[in-house]
Symmetry: C2
Amino acid sequence: LIEMRGIEKVYKLGSERVNALRGIDLDVSEGEYVALTGPSGSGKSTLMHLIGCLDSPTAGRYLLAGSDVSSMSDAALARVRNRQIGFVFQTFNLLPRATALHNVEIPLIYGGLGSRERRRRATAALERVGLADRMKHQPNQMSGGQRQRVAVARALVTDPSILLADEPTGNLDTATGNSILELFAQLHASGQTIVLVTHEADVAAHARRHIVLRDGKIESDDANK
Amino acid sequence: LIEMRGIEKVYKLGSERVNALRGIDLDVSEGEYVALTGPSGSGKSTLMHLIGCLDSPTAGRYLLAGSDVSSMSDAALARVRNRQIGFVFQTFNLLPRATALHNVEIPLIYGGLGSRERRRRATAALERVGLADRMKHQPNQMSGGQRQRVAVARALVTDPSILLADEPTGNLDTATGNSILELFAQLHASGQTIVLVTHEADVAAHARRHIVLRDGKIESDDANK
Ligand SMILES: Nc1ncnc2c1ncn2[C@@H]1O[C@H](COP(=O)(O)OP(=O)(O)OP(=O)(O)O)[C@@H](O)[C@H]1O
Ligand SMILES: Nc1ncnc2c1ncn2[C@@H]1O[C@H](COP(=O)(O)OP(=O)(O)OP(=O)(O)O)[C@@H](O)[C@H]1O
Ligand SMILES: [Mg+2]
Ligand SMILES: [Mg+2]
């Protein structure tokens, strides 16, 4: 499903260059549940943005479901992002002035779904993350962990085949975090591919495969465990 | 140092009321190191904002260093916040278009310090959190954990007598998180009062006292351990 060869990502800041990814080879098959860990600044979010087609690599090849992403048009990339991929951002990226319900409906608007069905699916997604009583509230009226769960609901509402979650439990207490991981376990059991970035070892232990990044390279990958 | 009696906080959302804090009695002495934990939405950040004089309670009394906060003028509150308190926000609250160095200098500008001394202290604070090579970068050019550490540096640069840190290691890997906790241990040893919100049990174990919040009330407090 995901095939990367020699992937590099350089950020240019004025005259300076930050080599965020220095040659990544990665294969992820359909239905796998992968945890990605590594030190702060090691390139985890950068790699997730590339997998999710939110950014382009500086060098290297990326085939998603057999298609070469670098040769796809912007419109085709947007369709892949909206139809196949659900993304939980490390920074949540919610619209501050829209209700939780509206935030979760947004991916379905792009998908062309009717308003009644949109509302039904978005409500169900918010119930699944335990926020049934927060539908009409805006992000700036919620706690950090509640905003994070709205971001998880928004990523799941399109029933994506690939879920990319960047630190989805970073602001959640153990019990609430476990309920989100339980939700991911159900998605994994139903065949979704999941890539999860975390800095917590016990969260990484929920995945089936563990890749460690360091300084923009894969330090270890227990793929054939 | 911190004396709260019967503290309540109600958020009014249209016709709805959210009782975020339902009667908190709390005493924190100078030099204590307190961890505050509890489920997502239990009121931790709300309580931290009240302790840090960033918000006013709906009811109850709060004495900070013997002064009744509710009777202080806005100017007096701003002076207390700038001189006595360092706050690490759960949402970092950095200026996105300013460099890391400038973000950390800002509390010193309010304090009326000269520009050379400001630069020296801000540089030292960023070095202490391991971001010496990131001084000239803006927050949106950094990783999540790097932004979090800029927020820690900014809270420490004024050498506050009270440090309030809301989830300071939420985006950091274990090694980087431990270096921040090591920094807090040094501050505690030098007499600073620290209140730390965390959802990670091993982070809470670094403190000397552990208060657990649930549904806006103190569920347990091992103050006399
Ligand atoms: N500005 C606001 N307006 C309305 N309600 C709010 C606001 N901020 C917080 N709340 C509500 O008050 C309650 C307590 O929120 P608070 O942010 O203090 O929780 P928390 O313990 O810090 O949670 P987390 O661990 O998720 O960060 C929550 O139910 C939240 O929805
Ligand atoms: N937009 C950007 N512009 C410039 N440099 C960037 C940008 N985003 C990230 N970087 C840099 O690239 C490197 C990798 O960043 P990345 O966000 O991928 O790390 P990370 O592993 O997710 O870290 P964290 O665990 O702290 O979230 C870091 O050194 C960071 O400063
Ligand atoms: Mg990251
Ligand atoms: Mg909070």
